[in-house]
């Protein structure tokens, strides 16, 4: 066999590395498993750090409202209450504003304004929580204390929600600041969803003589219902885990009061405030357990949001297939 039978150039090419292919695939696979490892790690650490507290307090942990580190009595109810109520307030404020803004951005705004406005909202999202809290302490709270809250008390003081002394730091302040934090995310997700509604839907409604609002209501909002719901739950997930800004304006008092002017305390805030002060083992374990509760709640909210958003995309692809 003469070497002339083999093209000379081929001799100089390195054989392709099957080893390289396999190694790279395994490397990237291992890295992608990182997310699974992380989730398990979080769950494991939280349970490990709280197992003594879980053993001691059991289910009562979630129903007791006493939080007394000195007497070693730990109950998470005030924090669950605080987290839920502040998040609810945030949703009540943010959802209508966000959806309306998303409608404005996708259906109503003149074209030249859409991108700048969207960018401005993205800028709001980029502001760190601690800076919002800073503004909250020195600008928002004084204003609320001097103007907004007295006005609310004057008009709505007959309800149980707006009674009692006004300190400024309060559940309501917490809810407002969370609302500001979650506005951008709900707006941008809602906007994406509305943008992806096929134009055919809108055209069909217009062809029937509907007004702009009716087109939005019928062709966009009801079509995108599950997706919008998902956006709201996504915002809820963010609200539940919000820490710094809330800690700075909510008052950090573990109590359950009907009045929104009263200071409150959230699951995230108590961890932030008291973790490094925890003097005893049980204290720290109780805080770990609070973390576990928070983790559970936010995971549940996020799972729900993902499910709703997937339902939305599936609905759209099946309709397109028709």
């Amino acid at each position: 066999m003469t070497s002339a039978a083999v093209p000379a150039s081929v001799l100089r090419l390195r054989p392709p590395s099957r080893f390289g292919d396999r190694a790279f695939e395994w490397l990237t696979f291992a890295m992608s498993l990182g997310v699974v490892v992380l989730v398990l790690l979080v769950g494991w650490q939280l349970m490990r750090g709280s197992h003594l507290a879980i053993a001691k307090f059991g289910f009562h942990f979630l129903t007791t409202s006493t939080w007394d580190p000195v007497a070693e009595q730990y109950g998470a109810l005030p924090f669950i209450y605080g987290t839920v109520v502040s998040s609810l307030i945030a949703l009540i404020i943010a959802v209508p504003l966000s959806i309306a803004t998303a409608i404005y951005l996708t259906e109503l705004a003149p074209l030249w304004i859409r991108q700048p406005l969207a960018s401005a909202i993205e800028m709001l999202a980029a502001i760190p929580s601690v800076i919002l809290g800073l503004w909250g302490i020195f600008v928002m709270i004084p204003w609320l204390r001097a103007h907004a809250f007295p006005a609310l008390k004057a008009t709505l003081g007959w309800t149980p929600f707006f009674t009692g002394p006004i300190y400024g730091v309060s559940m309501l302040a917490g809810g407002i600041i969370i609302a500001i934090m979650i506005l951008p995310i709900i707006t941008s997700v809602a906007r994406e969803i509305m943008r992806s509604v096929p134009n055919l839907q809108r055209e069909a409604a217009y062809a029937l003589g509907a007004t702009k609002w009716e087109v939005t209501r019928i062709a966009v909002l009801s079509y995108a219902r599950s997706g919008l719901f998902g956006a709201v739950i996504l915002g809820l997930g963010r609200a539940l885990g919000e820490t710094m800004a809330v800690t700075m304006v909510i008052g950090n008092t573990p109590q359950i009061k009907a009045s929104l002017f009263a200071p409150g305390y959230t699951l995230a805030s108590v961890i932030a405030n008291e973790f490094t002060e925890a003097t005893t083992d049980m204290y720290l374990q109780a805080l770990f357990e609070i973390g576990l509760v928070l983790f559970g709640i936010t995971i549940f909210a996020n799972l729900l949001a993902q499910l709703l958003l997937k339902t939305m995309t599936r609905k759209m692809t099946t309709r397109v297939a028709q």
Binding site: V6, L11, P15, P16
Partner: protein, 280 residues
């Protein structure tokens, strides 16, 4: 040279020695590909049904047929590129230079260095210059020798009839060229690694008539050095450029003969119907 050969043999475990072509003296018109009972599936769909054909070496073979007849699938069966799609299956043999491409332990990447391909939509790599595009096959396959690379760069661009148009600035991005130039760049890129075969999947269908003409002239020049198999939906192109033509219909090979004969005196009724435009 013998030592390099042996060294390469031992570093490659379990791969068929693809570096050694058959030692038989090539006859004139000896087949480059001997396809025997080839069937190809996409999932449950049988796209190529039991095709047997000998594709002659150093000639241009055109594959024609209506849309969906399996021309592109068959072409990709010749360099095992259809395997990129999940859930594909192949039955039968494709003998290239005496060895079966689908034999056990054959590395597709080695095959593709000897059987090059040019695609319908020209796709020079966007982050690379003209020179980098031409040489990427060599460089990523381990060639470092600067002189060899420069030689090969000029040679490939000349053979692709692009050298005179780009030689002044080889560092321009590949995608800054016109459509026809980009396609010739892709051809230069394919021949830079000195394959023996060039598979072309509708190489001019996205180009204007003048660029198309240049590509067709190029094909006629290239066949002196390469076996060319070209898929085309343009019958006039097939009759202009090719020496042999194969007519496919619904995954089956209907007729294969000299181009002149197929277009003037086809044997099968279906061939005649297609050529005379009774269906497309």
């Amino acid at each position: 040279m013998i030592e390099t050969l042996t060294a390469m043999k031992t570093t490659r475990l379990h791969t068929v020695d693809f570096m050694q072509p058959s030692t038989d003296q090539p006859q004139p018109l000896a087949p480059a590909f001997a396809v025997k009972n080839l069937s190809m599936w996409y999932g449950a769909n049988e796209a190529i049904k039991n095709v047997t054909i000998d594709i002659p070496a150093k000639r241009v073979t055109a594959i024609i047929g209506p849309s969906g007849c399996g021309k592109s699938t068959f072409l990709r069966g010749l360099n095992r590129l259809h395997e990129l799609v999940p859930r594909t299956r192949v039955n039968g043999d494709v003998l290239f230079a005496g060895q079966n491409l689908y034999g056990p332990d054959v590395d597709p990447a080695l095959i593709r260095r000897r059987i090059g391909m040019v695609f319908q939509k020209s796709n020079p790599f966007p982050t690379m210059s003209i020179a980098e595009n031409v040489l990427v096959g060599l460089k990523l396959n381990g060639v470092r020798d600067r002189t060899l690379l420069n030689e090969r760069l000029e040679k490939s661009l000349r053979m692709a009839a692009l050298w005179s148009e780009v030689k002044d600035d080889l560092r321009k991005p590949g995608i800054s060229l016109s459509g026809g130039q980009q396609q010739r760049l892709c051809i230069a890129r394919a021949i830079a690694i000195e394959p023996e075969v060039l598979l072309m999947d509708e190489p001019a269908s996205a180009l204007d008539p003048i660029a198309t003409m240049k590509i067709e002239e190029l094909i006629t020049e290239l066949k002196a050095n390469y076996t060319i198999v070209i898929v085309t939906h343009n019958m006039q192109q097939a009759s202009r450029c090719s020496d042999f033509t194969a007519f496919f219909y619904m995954g089956e090979l209907i007729e294969f003969a000299n181009t002149a004969k197929i277009f003037s005196n086809p044997t099968r009724r279906q061939t005649e119907d297609y050529i005379t435009g009774r269906f497309g």
